[in-house]
Subunit: 323 residues, 2 copies
């Protein structure tokens, strides 16, 4: 009986979503294209019908589901960790990229890119167990605030994308994150924030070691990179974790190019979505020349590849849930 | 409306399962222990209630969901591949473990263990795309027959375990395979056979490379091991893919020891299940001294660790679906 009731509730939410999906999206071409795609793949009997099991949708995180300026939020987290741990590592005063972090020379740190981020992460997270790291991340996300907006980082998620995730799930899509960010950095908060469970998160990772410490088994993060889930690494991460090709993928930078290429070159109906950051007032405006979230090739080739480019300023009625 | 109807169907199957779950299990302690566990973690308001999202159950494959004698079925598959590919590799005539394969000296091949299996797999699968490999596996599983039973390998799955998977899922568990076998060797057939989708399969893996060949993107399997998902590798594979600790784990050999240890040392209600192969007549009988599926430490420590040991001969009314 409980199962029947809970499904009735699900059905009601489907119906109400169907009445007015994506309320924070303006009525522009982007919104129509998304709805048209979802309707055609879910219409039984249609030649473009896709069975629910194959309705896999993958979303980049940084710049696609939440903001990424003035630098990746995970990098800001790592900087906070470096400052916290510095007293135990006197050599960091002269060793890059740590020295720049401690001097507050954020520009040099940012210029070290995702490789620098991975070094910072390896050095500041190695030796922690998965459980300890989970606690450190939860403490940071519940207290640290963004230097410009003063908001918690988890408040800087995009309301229109939350609605898109809900809309896809209401139509029996399974939604995954496929991010260059650290898999264990995302898992502690994405379930509550995006409704995406930890087993549907793909990200960059460090190797781990299983060991029994004083009778208690633990998984320890090692200082060795396992996967960089960016660029060519994204289709690899998708195959490794999901084992099928998505039919829908959303990204915002050239780091997502291969994920969109892999997704949209499969047979049958496919959807590629690019978030173009065009709103300097409500968020940020950047593309070809940004060192964070650079969007050049994917933007230039979007028309010929049939990818939908979301103009944040034009297409979104609201950016964050709170404003 | 469709959603309501399909849930009514699900509810009906829950009810009918609840009336007589696990029909191919004899009414012994193993069956009672499973049912008691499932009932207590699903009873709302009970102090041992576990929310559906945390009802993660992991199953080893070889020897736990299907047979593994006289050697791992994937090894038999690899042997067939070696014979198929031998004309293109004249050096295999003198190079181990290939030479033993081609001479039909299966004992030497089997003695090379999982390491030998990985070498055979790397050598025979490298260079294939994921799509090509999927086809090769599907062709093999639909035609190759077991040397002793003459059955298709996918017919040699355990009926009681199929019922256990169904029973857990009917109680909102999410079921995963966590196997030492190759992840891409299992994905082509486990969805149809076990009802487990490819994204819920964890296994040993080769590294992959994404590339665009003549305009077509492909993922190519490389001859380099990524993860050996066995022993200490199982908790690592679980964390990497699932990101939470299971509350239920089933295995049959010492290769599953760490998975059961990791699973059952968490807080709250936990269940560890070991399949003990005791039925030489209907299947095989082996434990401490077997070179395939050796079960020694896990069997010896099961009582003190509270793990339920299934005695195949006593506890199962039926072994395979067809007999």
């Amino acid at each position: 009986m409980r199962a029947i009731l809970s499904t009735l509730l699900v059905s009601v939410s489907v119906v109400s979503n169907a009445a007015e999906p994506l309320p924070s999206w303006n009525n522009t071409e982007s919104k129509s294209a998304i709805i048209e795609f979802v309707e055609k793949v879910t219409e039984e009997g249609s030649p473009e019908f896709v069975p629910p099991a194959e309705r896999i949708a993958t979303f980049d995180n940084d710049g696609t589901l939440w903001s990424e300026q003035p630098m990746y939020f995970q990098l800001l987290f790592a900087l906070d960790r470096v400052k916290q741990l510095a007293p135990q590592h006197p050599d960091w005063k002269t060793k890059e990229p740590f020295a720049s972090v401690l001097k507050g020379d954020i520009k040099s740190v940012a210029a070290s890119g995702k490789q620098g981020l991975m070094e910072l992460i390896a050095a500041t997270h190695a030796g922690l167990t998965i459980g300890e790291f989970d606690q450190v991340v939860k403490e940071w996300t519940s207290t640290a605030r963004h230097p410009k907006t003063g908001m918690l980082y988890t408040e800087m998620v995009y309301q229109p994308m939350l609605e898109l995730l809900d809309y896809l799930r209401a139509n029996d899509f399974k939604t995954f994150i496929v991010s260059g960010g650290g898999i264990e950095f995302m898992r502690p908060w994405v379930e509550q924030t995006y409704g995406i469970p930890p087993e549907q998160v793909v990200g960059s990772s460090l190797k781990m070691k299983y060991e029994v410490r004083d009778g208690t088994p633990v998984l320890v993060k090692l200082a060795e990179v396992d996967l960089i889930d960016d660029k060519e690494g994204k289709p690899v991460g998708i195959q490794s974790h999901i084992g099928r090709r998505p039919i829908f993928a959303a990204g915002n930078s050239d780091g997502d190019f291969q994920m969109l290429e892999w997704t949209t070159s499969g047979d049958g109906p496919r959807f590629g979505l690019i978030i173009h950051h065009t709103d300097a007032e409500r968020e940020w405006a950047y593309d070809h020349d940004s060192h964070i979230g650079r969007l050049a090739r994917a933007l230039d080739e979007a028309p010929q590849r049939g990818w939908t480019v979301v103009d944040m300023k034009q297409d979104w009625a609201r950016v964050y849930p709170s404003r």
